[in-house]
Structures are given as C-alpha cells and as structure tokens.
C-alpha cells in the first residue's frame, strides 16, 4: 500500500512540474530546460529550512516559492532577451550552473545531498503518514491545475498564445512581450519550487541527481507526450510515464538494467512524439512546436 501511495505522490509532483512547464512550452513557446533547477532550488530551500529553522509546511512553501522566484528572475532576465534555440541553450546553461552549485557547495551537502530532514508540520500537526503526504501533493497539483486553467482562460492566456504565434505582431499592438514572458516564467517557477518542497518532505531526504539536466529533459518529454498546450495532457503524461516503468517489475526485465530500460523508453517516447505526433496524446495543436 505504501508503495502505491508513494507512486501517487510522485505522479502528483510530476503533474505539477509538467503543468508549470507546459505554460512556458505549450502556451508561450518558451522551451526552457531549467525547470529541474528551479524545482531543485525549491527542494534545497525547504530542506535547509527544515534542518535549520522550521519544518512548518506553509512557511516552507512560501520560502521555497520566494527563493524559486528569485532564481527564476536571475535565469529569465538575461535568457528572455534571446529567442528559440538561443533561449533554450541559455536556460540549459543556467541549469548546468545551478546543478553545479548543488553538487559543489558546502551548504547543499555536495554529491551526497541532504538527509534526516524532519517530517513537516501543518497547524501544529506532524504530517508523518504517507497518505497524508499524498494528500498534500495532490492539493498542490490541484491548485496548480486550477490556477493554470484560470490564467490560460483569461485574456492573459490569449496573450500567451499570441506571443507564441507571433511576437512581432504582439509588440505592434502595444503589448510588452518581455513582460508577458517574465510573468509566466515567474508563475511557473512558483509551482516548480513548491513541487520541490513536496519532494523533500515525501522522502525526508534530497539527492542532487533529481535536479540534473536529464530531469529537465524528462519534464519536457512529459509536456510533449501529454500535448503542448494541454493541461489535461500534462496530467495524463505524468501518470502514464511514472506508472509505465513500474510495470517492469511484473515483466522479465532484470532489476540491474531496469533503470536503463526506463531511460531508453523515455528517450524513445521523446523521439517518437517529436517525429510522429507533435500534438501529443491529447494536445490541441499539431504544430505548437514549429
């Protein structure tokens, strides 16, 4: 049972990460591969806070979001001056720099990460049971989904899509493309870092590998498989791609190579969907990725 609860928590975390990235990739046309770094910033903030000051869940969320937003501004202010491939490569640069900080700073525990993190408390109650943590993770995913739905259905969402379609035209209508992009980048960072908080408290430990460039590419894969510009698709993809490798346990795949098989599968899905089905499983448009 604990096992299924853990998988459920993982799916909720990835659904949050995927929705938050889809707002950039699918709605605004900003292919960022720094999402895992921002996720990590939220996780490290939460872990260090819990080890040194407080394990209050709400304070953790707020602090993770504040630091996540700060870092996202450092990434976005220079990167948003660039377009397309150059934006992607700049965010890749920040991803590598931030990961290197996680790995090499004293305070972040280096390659071994941080452990022995206390369980979180909410209004004085200690959240210890797996199912309670699952509920918290689901709550975050629901809030993320609802607010993403709200802003994408509002005129702001129309502006996002307009930026994706033609930035020059948006500017010619008197609207600042930079401001729109910055707003959505920061919004996305709030949820990515909050997902980091959940990650840390569900494991009560933190491994830097979880915030590597490969993880950013995995989140992009989830966005593309689900469908760029489809929030429901993001949830579906997170559920499917987390569950799929779990079925290996019931197949005749040796445990030693199971992680490799999983990676190959993810890589193959990324290639397949970019090559044959760019609208993703239930995406709206075929060519959001032009």
């Amino acid at each position: 049972m604990e096992y299924f609860i853990y998988i459920g928590t993982l799916i909720a975390i990835y659904a949050t990460l995927t929705i938050s990235l889809n707002l950039l990739v699918g709605y605004t046309g900003l292919i960022s591969i720094a999402q895992a770094a921002i996720y990590g910033v939220g996780a490290y903030t939460t872990a260090l806070l819990a080890l040194n000051f407080t394990n209050d869940l709400l304070i953790s969320f707020v602090c993770a979001a504040v630091v996540g937003v700060f870092v996202s501004l450092i990434i976005a202010l220079p990167s948003l001056r660039l377009t397309n491939e150059y934006f992607l490569i700049a965010t890749m640069g920040f991803q590598a720099i931030i990961f290197s900080l996680f790995m090499n700073l004293e305070i972040t525990g280096g390659a071994s990460g941080l452990y022995g993190i206390p369980h979180p408390t909410l209004f004085g109650h200690t959240i210890r049971a797996g199912w309670e943590k699952l509920l918290v993770a689901l709550a975050l995913a629901v809030i993320c989904y609802a607010s993403a739905l709200r802003i994408t259905n509002a005129p702001f969402g129309r502006l996002l899509r307009a930026v994706r379609e033609d930035q020059t035209a948006v500017a010619s209508l008197g609207k600042s493309v930079f401001r729109v992009k910055l707003a959505i980048f920061v919004f996305s960072a709030v949820f990515a870092s909050a997902a980091g908080t959940i990650y840390v408290y569900s494991l009560t430990a933190l491994d830097p590998v979880a915030f590597h460039l490969d993880e950013s590419i995995f989140i992009i894969t989830l966005v593309i498989v689900g469908g760029t510009g489809s929030l429901n698709g993001s949830i579906l993809a997170a559920a499917l791609l987390i569950l799929l490798p779990e079925t290996f346990k019931f197949m005749a795949i040796p445990e030693a190579i199971a992680p490799e098989v999983r990676q190959v599968l993810y890589g193959a899905l990324l290639v397949f969907f970019t090559r044959f089905r760019r609208q993703g499983l239930i995406g709206e448009y075929r060519d959001v990725l032009k």
């Binding site: 969402g157 035209a169 008197g174 600042s176 448009y285």
Partner: protein, 257 residues
C-alpha cells in the same frame, strides 16, 4: 517646426545594414486626417522606413516625432502605445487563435491581461470580457467576417485574413495607421472595398500612411505621395504633381507602367 496638423514627422532618417544603405536622409511629414502613400520600386526602402517608424529598427541617425514626442529609439510596443498601429505585408495574424481572439488581443489596457488580475478574477473581468467580445463582434461584423469569428485565423481565406488583419489593427486604437500593401493579392471588388474603408477611416479621424504598389490606387486614394528610390526620397507632392514629375516618371512610374 511641425505645423499644427502634422501627426508624424521624419527628420533625416538613415539606416544601413552592413554596407547596404537601406534608407538615406529621409524626411517627410504626414498630416493628420490624410492618406499619405509611400511608393517606390522593390528595395527602395519603404518597408525599412516602416520598421524605423515602428521601432522594429533603430535609425543610425535622424529623428521621428509623433505629434511633438520623439519616438525613435523606443521599443515597438511603446511606439504602438504612443498611437501608431501597424499592419504587416505578411499579415502576421495569430494563426491558431480564433478570428475573434485575434481582434480582442489587440484591445488596449485589458485588466485581464495582467496575470495577477487574471488569477483573482471577479465580476469586473466578466464585464470587461463581455465588452471586449462586443467590440470584436462589431468590428468583425463591419468587416463582413462575423460568421468566421470562431474559426482559427489560419482557416480563413486570404481575403478574409486581410480583412481580419485590418480588424486587429483597428482594435488597437492607434490614431496613425501604417498599412503595408493592404490591397495586394485581392480581387478588384475587394480592392474597391478596401479603398472605401480607408477613406471612411480618415473621415473618422484616423491618419493613414500607406505602402502601395498599385499606381492607380495611389493616385485615386492619396492626399499626398512620397516617392522613394534607393533609400532616399526623390519627390513628394499631391498625386497629380508626382505623376507629372519627370524624375519620378523615369525612375519609377516609367518602369512600372
């Protein structure tokens, strides 16, 4: 200095790309409420001049005034906010947005376009949305494409797309409209329709600066014509003056007609 009814003034604008001088020492005024046409052969520098005016390019030297305010050096969205609305030769519609969304995306100062306001929501935003819908529907109706309001822009016929791009331009509420070959590729009937619309717009207080290849339209529609050749202005005047200008006949009209 600028006379009372000058809305746009270009002063000695120059722009070069590498070794190519695209616009050289270009000066002219556009008077409010008129249609001014910018004509010249391919590579004369007309579109570059547009890009300089709208802030898509920064001039190497020279100044641009809208009313009395300098707009050269401002980024495109600020130029647009100052009151210059631009149509593109290649339309640049938001292809995978509905026709109505294309128009509504141009409406200025929508509170729902702020991410915070969008998150908070509320009655005000509903009212604003209804007003925007009404505005867009009225514009689409006037442009005879109301039936296509919910179609994606890319699904519209070319003529409808041209009308839609005009609708988007009008929703932006600029007082000076820059139109880059608005009638190219249209049937004669639609060309007439466009000419009528442009005339009506100046009647309603708009000013139009037009890039146009069709000499007949230029002569019929313009109050003032500026002729460019190899990046510089070689003549300007009323249509009939320009038509009778010997230099223009040789370098431009002589070639095209």
């Amino acid at each position: 200095m600028a006379s009372a009814d000058t809305i746009l003034r270009l002063e000695a604008l120059s722009k070069s790309f590498g070794g190519l001088q695209a616009v050289r020492d270009l000066s002219f005024d556009v008077n409010a409420g008129t249609i001014t046409s910018l004509i010249g052969g391919n590579g004369a520098g007309k579109t570059t001049a547009f890009n300089l005016i709208t802030g898509n390019l920064v001039p190497d030297s020279g100044h641009i005034y809208l009313r009395d305010a300098r707009v050269d050096g401002l980024p495109p969205h600020k130029v647009a906010r100052a009151g210059i609305a631009r149509g593109f030769q290649e339309l640049r519609l938001f292809n995978r947005l509905s026709a109505r969304d294309n128009v509504e995306a141009a409406i200025p100062n929508l509170r729902g376009e702020s991410i915070i306001r969008a998150l908070i929501g509320g009655r005000e935003l509903m009212d604003e949305r209804n007003a925007a819908d009404a505005r867009a529907n009225a514009l689409l109706d006037d442009l005879t494409i109301a039936s296509q309001a919910d179609s994606l822009a890319e699904r519209l016929s070319y003529g409808q797309q041209k009308l839609l791009s005009l609708g988007r331009l009008l929703a932006a509420e600029g007082e000076l409209l820059l139109l880059d070959e608005p009638t190219s590729g249209l049937s004669p009937g639609m060309v007439d329709d466009f000419c009528t619309r442009m005339r009506r717009l100046t009647g309603n207080g708009k000013t139009i600066l037009l890039i146009e290849h069709n000499v007949d339209i230029v002569m019929r529609l313009s109050d003032w014509v500026v002729v460019m050749h190899q990046g510089t202005k070689i003549a300007e005047g009323r249509p009939e003056e320009v038509r009778n200008n010997v230099t223009v006949m040789h370098t431009y009209l002589g070639i095209t007609s």
